[in-house]
């Protein structure tokens, strides 16, 4: 589903965000990407969503080599990726329904089909009763769930989440994670960037640890891994 082959990224200002990353995430897999801010998590996600291009190496998504994608084709690639953001990125001048319907409108669905799918997605995140509200009337957790509904409404095979629980309390975070698990159970691949270590410790999924633009640990969910306390897991980072 996601493949990084010798990927490096150097920003125009000289900052090196990624150094020779090799990574494979299979279809239907759910993985966490963690590390300190500036370790390169966001850059990884930006390369997948074509907001940035790698300086070297190749990123392959759904079997498509992104290096070969022309700017004109970027929208089509993005439609197959559901993206969830820390700051939700909702349109505040439109209703919850319209926000969630946006990907379907872009894809050109029939309006009855849009109604069905949007309500199904809102039902899934427990916000069916709020479809007529505007995002500004919702709490942070609810806004995030609207963002999630928007990301899944088009049934993308891959979900990317950038610090989806960044601004939420532990209880709401756990709720969001349960949603992600449900999506994963029906076969969606997920890559979730998060530095919420206590949350990661509770989740038993593959965890990729980044530091200074390198992948320093690729910890599959083994029993030993589970026993490792999060602080120890990132001990090296904390010292630097």
């Amino acid at each position: 589903m996601i493949e990084f082959a010798h990927v490096s990224k150097r920003y125009p200002n000289g900052q090196i965000a990624l150094r020779n990353i090799d990574l494979q995430i299979g279809a239907g897999e759910m993985a966490f990407l963690t590390g300190h801010s500036g370790a390169g998590k966001s850059t990884m996600l930006k390369l997948i969503s074509l907001m940035e291009r790698p300086t070297a190496g190749q990123v392959i998504i759904n079997g498509k080599n992104l290096n070969r994608i022309k700017p004109r084709k970027i929208p089509a690639i993005r439609r197959d990726i559901g993206m969830i953001f820390q700051d939700h990125r909702l349109l505040f001048d439109r209703s919850v329904f319209d926000n969630v319907a946006l990907p379907l409108m872009i894809a050109g669905y029939d309006h009855r089909e849009i109604g069905r799918r949007v309500r199904a997605a809102l039902d899934k995140v427990g916000l069916l009763s709020k479809e007529k509200s505007t995002p500004i009337m919702l709490s942070g957790g609810e806004q995030q769930r609207v963002g999630i509904a928007r990301a899944v409404v088009n049934k993308p095979p891959l979900l990317l989440a950038d610090e989806p629980t960044g601004n939420l309390d532990p209880e709401l975070s756990a709720e969001i994670m349960r949603l992600f698990e449900q999506f994963n159970q029906v076969g969606v691949s997920l890559l979730i960037a998060s530095h919420d270590l206590s949350l990661l410790a509770k989740m038993h999924y593959r965890t990729l640890v980044m530091k200074d633009g390198q992948l320093i640990q690729d910890r599959s969910d083994t029993p030993q891994g589970l026993d490792l306390p999060p602080a120890q897991l990132l001990g090296a980072d904390n010292e630097s």
């Binding site: 909702l90 349109l91 001048d93 872009i106 894809a107 050109g108 669905y109 199904a120 029906v186």
Partner: protein, 324 residues
Amino acid sequence: MNPDQLTGARLTQGASLKARFKMLIRLHKLEAKRGIQDIFDNPLSNFMTVLVIAIALALPTGLQIMLDNGKQLSQSWDGASRISLFLTLETSKKQTIDLSNKIRQNLAIKNVEVILPDQALKDFSQQSGFVDAIGELDQNPLPPTLVVQPVEAYSTPFESGKLLAIYAKLPQVEKAQLDLDWVRKLYALIQLAEKAAAALGLALGLAVLLIIGNTIRLSVQNRRDEIEIVKLIGATNAFIRRPFLYTGFWYGLFAGISCWLLVEISLFWLQQPIANLAGLYQSDFTLSGLSWSQSIQLISISCGLGLLGSWLSVGRHIRAIEPR
């Protein structure tokens, strides 16, 4: 809907072609509405924009109307292309009438008026008031005259000039005269005014493009965040462009209608003084305004300029916005 239907983990197939087409029409309706909403969200400043465009369009439109009226007026004065043939003094009455009949047979001639010397003298003495002085004359010095009026197609300076040359060669004709200078001057003036109107129209059309382009640019800047978000969700530039194109179109439509109103109100306002002026010249001339087809033309041009202005502006500015 059960969960696996909701997030079935396969590549999105998108919608069928028919559904896409139906959605496209629906989207166009939505975006047309959104475009108009965009204008009404900010009524005062957008009203002023519309008014500026309307005024810019009203100037060349007004000039065009003046020109059309001027042309009409000059046509109603087709006497200007009347050719006067002064015959030799010894031409008899019968010869004069024969000649007039001969000329009248020419298809290019609408009418020939015969002025016999006696009649001419009578008219002259009445109009000039030199009755006594004329009475002193022992001989009528005035020649028989034919006033030849060509049909409209032969009333242009060029055509009537050709006719003049033909008649001047007739043996009975002493002198053929056409008030050609006056006609030429009028035509030259109208031509100049037409060129000026075209230049003004072009310059102001360009100004309208710039005004709309700039308004749309600001509108794009204001919705920068929104554009970034929909780009992230996979919207194409064409999708993002559409509501802005509609906004441009609506600007054009509103400006066109406002311009039409401005012109009609000004004409109404001028109607009375012009009727007064025409009355002084014993003319029943009235100012004619925009015909239906001209009105539709005006509004279409305005809509076209709105669409073109936003199209020129929006593509460039949307491409410059990339999600970060």
